[in-house]
Every structure is written in structure tokens, then in C-alpha cells.
Subunit: 414 residues, 2 copies
């Protein structure tokens, strides 16, 4: 007897999370013996709690292709940590009410914890459910997978932007701006900042200095490096991860808020760095904060990343058909050059809530750059272009107005 | 007798200023009877003052093609206002020493003033010179031309980024960030911010609110509009021009510095707006500052803009051959749809130091958006994609190490 499936998107979205959705849905449609109705929960796990389920049968094959090329989370995402017993009871009730036999959760490390909790909940209740996590995070900090879908595209965007902005700064440096700071995402792991180094074909090319969360920020050493670079090349381009901390372990900048997982909401690092540089050197500075621009930039996505995002979605359906449970789809690297990889599966308990920082051997001796090993790892992930269709001068991204199924249960009151 | 030419880039650079350089140089090479050596001055007018001249004959046709597709100012730019008599005397001496009969200056309104001063200098000294200004500014504030090369590409970048980031915010709004602010360039004129509106296919789509320098910022009215938009759509995307001023005429944010023309160096508007919104509403906010990313983003350039930038460079050479002097190349719109245009020429004295603001009829009644007339004007300028070649996952932009000619005059000491 086929059983129904629920797919949901969780955590910060990426330029390619919808490609995973497309991969899953297109593949699952090929197994009608296993899968009954294919639902998407609206806004991640909240959509299950609130019984807000979208029947994805409304999406034509053409629309699934467009979904594949549209950034953001088409079904809505959330940041919500499962905490209470009543939440878990409610989840189980919804899964039972809709005869859900497959739970596909598409997210990062925090979301893997949610997926694991759902799996444990079902097991404890003897409710037959296969819970499969589909990896996704621009932070690239999921363990036991070569990379996380979403990261390669952000890496390509950031490296492209640094190469471009670097040419701008170089043009003006003789008589105007000599310092450019680009703040990128990366709260605990410096993968994105590190990837900006791919823009540099030789030592004179930007980025000249990279500030990583893994390397404590020392003001005097930083200012000396800025002065030295300007003396040498006439200008300096700095890429800073939002999570840079000083030697006391304090963030160089905090916006003040905290998210649902208790993480500090960061921002404002770039202007702070510029203040430090101006005060010490008097150089004219410019700064940019890419924020959501970097993680939504589907127009400059990595074709490799799009392909992997689609593949992990496909594989999730196939693993479910093969009877797997409580696993995360993984990507296993077979070789660097040419880059070859295959799909695997790892136990969910080994990835939930675990963050993979940049390994020490990827960070250069002075802490301001990356090593050849890091470059060898990173370079394959940004290969290939996969532009979306354009219409009227702009990317032709999908627009959907979802209708959710009528509820079978009374409304949820937390 | 052929006479030598000097080309120079001035002011803030653009994704397509090098396309103008390529258009000029490729065309001038076809007129050996008129043009002798084709020099580029290093770092704009400073390169003339300092007698730092590059013989562009070193560039192969293939390299000129690559130049066409490389952002930034390949020959270096500057912000330098000609002020003293000794500067003018020196300029004349350098022009004479190198038998320069053609001066091509590629810049915006401030730079047109420099070009005009050079023309007047030559006339006063009875030195035979043709001075031709090639329009360029992402600000789109040059008068007497349909648009300024550089603007269309920035418009396309900003509209694309807003559409993409808007999808991100929409995904997360139910449980997380509800407000996204993107700060874009535009000190006095709101053209770039206005162009972001092209991202919106209907009223529900971002950007929901645009803050223009032409419209005084009223805090209470702004906060009410933010609250109203969130109530209606669940989130709000705001695009703010850096030059937004309050009802007293004070910038909402000043970075503190001033450039060589005495303009305040702006920055930090987006975080200030977010503080206002947070204090009034408590909504979780994100913000981005595109800064140089927007004006260097050749990877998402408008094909129309690239074509126009190339064409104004071509036309500059042709106008010189036709004997014109003291003019700026202009673009004249013949029709909106299909967009047709032709090249013209306008007197330099009518464009120098004059800024073209957004016309009142382009601004919606509430001041937070644009009118259909504005859309009709803007839409043609972002049409078509013109991606650069990619190599190893990144745009294959040119890298040049210039060698300047040996000096004929003693070094310049201002």
C-alpha cells in the first residue's frame, strides 16, 4: 500500500534548496507503488504542527523545472526548535491523520535535529515512518558530507563579487578609496569567507585579507596587514565572516537579537572594521554587506551545486524506496580533479547539531588566507554556470500561491 | 597629419566603462589618417598631469574584446577637480609635449567639468585640440542623454538582487525575518533605487517600499507603511538610496568623510533604517549594503547597456573624425517599445556639473514607488544578458600591467 509523504524546508534558505525539492518530487512521482500523495508542509516543521499541507500534485513538470531554478524556499521555511512534549504529540497526531509514511526534511545541522526528533518520536510510538534528511546549508558546516548544497553557489557569488569589486577598488585607489571590506555570512565556520579566495589568481589579486571565525581577531596585527598590503599593492580588499571574534571570544559586532536557536543575530561587522582601519590609517574606505543577496543569488549559481542539490533530493526518494530511515543523504568526493562524487547516506544521529569548522590545514599560517589544500577542496564546487531563464531582463522565477489541504484535526494551540 | 589622442577614465567606475574604451580604441584604429598614437592616461586626468601615458597599441584585438567585458576602470580612474592655474598650465604642457590633438574623457557630470576645462584651456591658448566627453555614470544623472552607460547594468543587478532576496525573505517571514532593507547608491538622484521596482511584477512582490533622495523621509509615515505592508503580505522589502534625507534636508546617515568634490561620503543608512524599524515594531530585520558590488557586477550586465557603452565610445572617435569639439556623446531615445535609440552630441557646457534628478512624474503619489511612466522609461535599459566568458568557475576578466611612456617633461610638482 503506498503511503503519503511530507517534504519540508527548514532553516535559512539557499539559491538551490528548491532544486532539491524538484529532485525529490520528480523522483518520488516515479514510484507510485511506494508513494501516495506528496505533500509539502508550509513553513517547515511549523506546517506539520499547523497541519498546513500543500498537495504538490498541483505542480506540472514544467513548474517543477521552474522550481528547480528558483531561489528561496518555495514552500516556506522556518527556524523552529522542537522543544515540548505537546509539540511532539501534535506532530505524531498530524502524521497519523494523514497517513504519512515518509518524512523528508531539507535543512542544515539544526534542522537535522528536528528530523532526528521526528524519527525518534515515531519509533517510540511504534508509528511506521521513514525520516530522511536532505542536506542544505550555505554555511557548508554539515559533517560527513563533502559539501552542503547551497554552499557552492554562495561561494561562486562571493568569489565573483570580490573579483569584480576588487577591479573597482584597484581603479580608484590612486586618488580615492584604498580599502574595501566585504562582510559575508558564516557565524561559526569560515567556509564562505574562505571561498572568496578563489577570486585571487595570484598574490596581488583580491581578496588580500580574509577574516575567519576560526582565527581570533587581533587588532594590531590586522592593521599592520592592512598597511602592508596598501604599501605593496596600493589598495586592500578584505573579506570578513560575520562571526569574527576577538581574542576574548567576543563577536566584533552583534546586532543585538537572537534567533530561535539562541544564536546571536550578527551584523554590522564591516562598518566596525572600517572604523578600526580609518582610525589607525586614515585611508578612505568602502564596505558592503552581502547578507541575503549572497544566499539568494540563483542567477550566478554553480552548476555543480545545482546538480548536487537536485541529486540529494532524488536520492532521498530512492533511499526511502530502498527502506532507509533516520539517515541524511550525503555527497562523497571520489577525486578532486576531475571532480567526481557519488551519493551516500549517513546516520542522522551523527550529523544533528554538529558543526564542521574549517580544518586547521585549510587556513594559511598568518590566518589571513587559505592553503593550497583548501583551494583544491573548494575549486570544484563553483564550477559551471546554470543561469535561470530570463524574461523582460530579469530572472523568470516561479511565483506560487499555495492552497493548503483542509484540516483533519482541531487547530493546534501550543 | 595624424595627431595623437589621449583617453582617460574618470569618477566612479562602472561595469561597462571599459566597453566604451574598447569602442573608442577599436574605432580610432580604423582612422590612421586622423589618429596617430592612442594613449590612455593612467588614473584619469591625474595621468595627464603626471605624464603617465599608456600606449594602447600594446592591446591586441582579442584583449580589446576582453577589455569590453571587464568591469572597473582598466586604465585607472580618479576623483580630481581641476582647480589651480598651475594645474592647467601643466596640462597644456603635457598635451603639447605629446602632440595631443584629441582628448577623450569618459565620466559623469563632475568629469564633464574637467573635460570642459581642458577644452577651454586649449582654446584660450590657441592650442588645437578636440575635447570629447564620453558619458558614463551609474547614477544616470547626466542631462541631455536618454541614459548614462553603466546605469542599465546596475539597474539590472539591483532589480535581480531584490527579486532574489525578496524570495528569501518571503520564505522565512512566517517565523523569522520580516523586514529586509537594501541600501543602494544614489547620492542626489534616486534612479538606481527607482529601477529596483522593475523586480515587482505586481503589488505583492518586492520591493514594497522605495526610499528616494527626491522624497523627504518622514519617520512616522515610513513606519506606518512598513507595518501596513507586513500586515498585508507578511513581510516587507525596502530599497533605500544612500542619499535619503529627512525633512530638514539632513542625510539619514553620513560616514563622515568627504570626497575630492566636497560631496559627503555616505554609508550606514541601511542599519539606521533597521534601528528605526526595530524600535517601532520589534520585527526581526536584515539589511544589505551593495556598495561596490552593484557597480562592478559585470556578470549580470544589461546587454543593452553594454551595447550603448560600446556605441558611445565608437561615436566619440567618429565625432572627432568629423571635426567636433567640446561635446558630449549622447543617446537619444526614439521609442520605448521596441526600444530604439540613436547617437547624438550635445554641447559640453550644457552638461558639466548639472545633475538630472528623477522627474516628479516618475515618483508615485505616496513617494514610496514609481509610476508607469518610470517603468516605461526604465524597462528597456535592463534588457538582454551579456555574460562574460567564465574560466574555472569565475568570470575571465582581463589583468593588465601597464607600462607608461618615458616622460618628456620634468616631474609635476603641484
Amino acid at each position: 500500500m503506498p503511503r503519503n509523504a511530507v517534504y519540508a524546508q527548514s532553516g535559512g534558505v539557499t539559491p538551490v534548496i528548491n532544486a532539491s525539492a524538484a529532485g525529490l518530487l520528480l523522483t518520488a512521482r516515479q514510484y507510485p507503488v511506494h508513494f501516495g500523495r506528496l505533500f509539502a508542509a508550509q513553513n517547515g516543521i511549523l506546517g506539520v504542527l499547523n497541519e498546513a499541507l500543500i498537495d504538490t500534485a498541483v505542480l506540472s513538470s514544467r513548474e517543477l523545472q521552474q522550481l528547480k531554478n528558483t531561489p528561496g524556499g518555495a514552500f516556506g521555511s522556518c527556524r523552529h526548535k522542537l522543544k515540548t512534549e505537546s509539540e511532539l504529540r501534535r506532530l505524531l497526531a498530524v502524521l497519523q491523520a494523514w497517513d504519512v509514511g515518509y518524512f523528508f526534511y531539507n535543512g542544515g545541522g539544526d534542522s537535522a535535529d528536528t528530523c532526528l526528533k521526528v524519527a525518534e518520536l515515531a519509533r517510540a510510538a511504534n508509528y511506521p515512518l521513514q525520516a530522511i534528511h536532505i542536506p542544505k546549508t550555505i554555511d557548508n558546516d554539515l559533517p560527513l558530507t563533502d559539501c552542503s548544497p547551497g554552499f557552492g553557489s554562495v561561494a561562486k557569488y562571493v568569489a565573483t563579487s570580490v573579483r569584480e569589486a576588487g577591479l573597482d577598488v584597484a581603479s580608484m585607489a590612486a586618488s580615492s578609496t584604498k580599502v574595501f571590506v566585504l562582510e559575508v555570512m558564516g557565524r561559526h565556520a569560515g567556509w564562505i569567507a574562505a571561498a572568496s579566495a578563489l577570486a585571487s589568481r595570484h598574490h596581488a589579486e583580491p581578496p588580500h585579507l580574509i577574516l575567519l571565525p576560526e582565527v581570533p581577531f587581533e587588532r594590531a596585527r590586522f592593521v599592520a596587514a592592512v598597511e602592508d598590503t596598501v604599501a605593496r599593492y596600493g589598495y586592500v580588499v578584505i573579506v570578513a565572516a560575520e562571526g569574527v571574534k576577538d581574542t576574548q571570544g567576543l563577536y566584533l559586532s552583534e546586532a543585538g537579537g537572537k534567533d530561535a536557536f539562541g544564536h546571536a543575530q550578527l551584523g554590522g561587522l564591516a562598518p566596525n572594521l572600517v572604523e578600526i582601519i580609518k582610525a589607525a590609517t586614515g585611508f578612505k574606505c568602502h564596505w558592503a554587506v552581502a547578507d541575503y543577496l549572497q544566499r539568494a543569488a540563483r542567477h550566478i549559481a554553480s552548476a555543480t551545486d545545482v546538480q548536487q542539490a537536485f541529486a540529494v533530493g532524488q536520492a532521498a526518494a530512492q533511499l526511502a524506496v530502498a527502506g532507509q530511515n533516520e539517515v541524511m543523504v550525503s555527497i562523497e568526493r571520489l577525486s578532486d580533479e576531475p571532480y567526481t562524487w557519488e551519493i551516500g547516506a549517513v546516520p542522522l544521529g551523527m550529523v544533528a547539531n554538529i558543526e564542521k569548522p574549517l580544518p586547521a590545514e585549510f587556513i594559511s599560517a598568518d590566518g589571513f588566507g587559505i592553503t593550497p589544500a583548501a583551494r583544491r577542496y573548494l575549486l570544484p564546487l563553483i564550477q559551471g554556470e546554470a543561469p535561470p531563464a530570463f524574461i523582460d531582463g530579469l530572472p523568470d522565477y516561479g511565483q506560487w500561491s499555495w492552497v493548503t489541504e483542509g484540516a483533519k484535526l482541531p487547530p493546534y494551540r501550543p
